[in-house]
Amino acid sequence: MTGLYTLFLKEVLRFFKVSLQTILSPLVTTLLYLLIFSHVLEAHVHVYPGVSYTAFLVPGLVMMAMLQNAFANSSSSLIQSKMTGNIVFILLPPFAYWEFYAAYVAASVVRGLVVGLGVGVGGLWFADLPLAHPFWLLAFAVLGCAVLGAAGILASLWADDYDKMAAVQNFIIVPLTFLSGVFYSIHSLPPFWQAVSRYNPFFYLIDGFRYGFFGVSDVSPAEGLLIVAVCYLALSLATLQLLRSGYKLRK
């Protein structure tokens, strides 16, 4: 297990070494969203009874930040290694493909949780948050980061250059996070878009994560967690299969 642990540690140290960019900057961006949206919409939007819009917004933004950063961690690390060629240092040692996978996903989860914790603590300054079900909260947080960590590996395996990587980020990950109910409850959407939202796994992550705070959600948390878990499994199996075959890594 020393190999796996070392790779994990290296990946965690990598983002801590550039924490201005990997932790502080997403923190500031997210808190700016919070500042502006809560200021503009506080008086106009009410989603759950007894929950202010700002309080509703905080968990959504925390989850969004966690998901985007978990994805950014594995994907940027791997695409950089691929492009600069220093991926050989990972390919030469006797790593099993699943160790490779586990180390990158675990580091993504750590990055996601660190950023999420930062945004959450920052958010407390704007609104008081209850903690109805900490277990559900944690389960959705960890699983959400793991899904995006795995997606980051998958995307960086496929992408041949930074441009393709940015395309995945900007045309898949960002839209999916924005259109998942971070800023609104899907019940406020027209029926068509409500139905579409149900095909977005990020929706279940944010909805379930909110349940952890408020004890209310659009979908039952157990159903949400199951759907997300199935997504995670499918994504992981695909990623593991590609790693095993050496797809674009061992030509």
């Binding site: 550039v18 240092f89 061992r250």
Partner: protein
């Protein structure tokens, strides 16, 4: 004894390009072996297959008897590779990089050996410098250190001395020789043929994906190249009897081929008969460069 490297009818294609065309090669444990060949011959490709960085289209490869595909974990533990490309991780210092690389191979506390590596590779005062801030030659030394952190039985160096200054080249080879004496098998590629000639016991010459010569360095030198004698003649005129030996002539300088040094007697006798005086004479021993050029032609 199990061979250090065993390569059996290996082919590698990149699309239409047939980069390796049926390579068979055995390197015994403890050998100091050179893999030579012109640019694009397939040296790096063969090394990539051994290291598992790339997969053979057909054929089998084993390191210390371990198949590089079926038993890749043991095969990779037995192998240390210095890649040809100057790659580095810009986030970390030299020591951090070496600690990580040790950990990847399952070695927890390795600082004693890391210090020894740093010392021998002239990196001791750079241990806490970021690799990205080192000069090219220094980065190359870090690559050598990274390949050796796990004390691999077989060390493969893909042009380790490209861009490295004379002093380090000497100390690097001194260190690699020591590893060889201690039982490590060494395989190197280089375009500095005198390095291969002085260091390596055996040489494989690769051309367009095929091994065109595989022999001891001594045999290759003996069988494929002739000695020459360079003469300054007065008057500058070559007797008819020596025309067949002429390799090159420039002004009063003539270079003649000799199958062996014993033939020098006859050459001098012919000159004396023709009344030509020898003002200067130098016997030029064959070197690997000539053998190389002749074989690769």
């Amino acid at each position: 004894m199990i061979p250090a490297l065993h390569v059996q009818s290996v082919h590698k294609r990149f699309g239409d390009l047939h980069a390796l065309r049926g390579i068979d090669l055995t390197v015994e444990q403890g050998e100091f072996f050179a893999l030579l060949g012109p640019n694009g011959a397939g040296k790096t490709t063969l090394i990539s297959l051994l290291a598992g960085l790339s997969r053979a289209t057909s054929g089998r490869l084993a390191v210390m008897g371990r198949d590089v595909v079926d038993d890749y974990r043991q095969a990779r533990r037995a192998l240390g590779v210095v890649p040809q490309e100057l790659v580095y991780d810009s986030f970390f210092t030299v020591r951090e990089v070496l600690r990580f690389q040790s950990g990847y191979f399952g070695i927890r506390r390795n600082d004693a050996w890391i210090d020894e590596l740093l010392e021998n590779l002239g990196l001791a005062d750079k241990a806490d410098a970021y690799v990205r801030n080192l000069s090219g030659g220094m980065k190359r030394r870090v690559l050598v250190a990274q390949a050796l952190v796990h004390k691999p039985a077989v060390v493969v160096l893909d042009e380790p001395t490209a861009g490295v200054d004379v002093e380090l080249r000497q100390s690097l080879w001194e260190f690699i020789r020591r590893l060889n004496r201690e039982g490590h098998t060494i395989v190197l590629t280089t375009h500095y043929l005198e390095e291969a000639e002085t260091l390596c016991q055996r040489i494989a010459l690769l051309k367009q994906g095929q091994i065109i010569a595989l022999d001891t360095t001594a045999n290759l030198l003996a069988s494929h190249a002739t000695s020459q004698v360079a003469l300054r003649l007065d008057p500058p005129r070559l007797p008819e009897a020596l025309r067949a030996r002429l390799c090159a002539a420039e002004g009063e300088m003539f270079r003649l081929a000799l199958q062996s040094c014993g033939e020098l007697e006859g050459v001098l006798a012919s000159l004396r008969e023709a009344g030509v005086a020898v003002r200067d004479l130098e016997v030029v021993k064959p070197d690997l460069e000539e053998v190389f050029l002749e074989l690769v032609k």
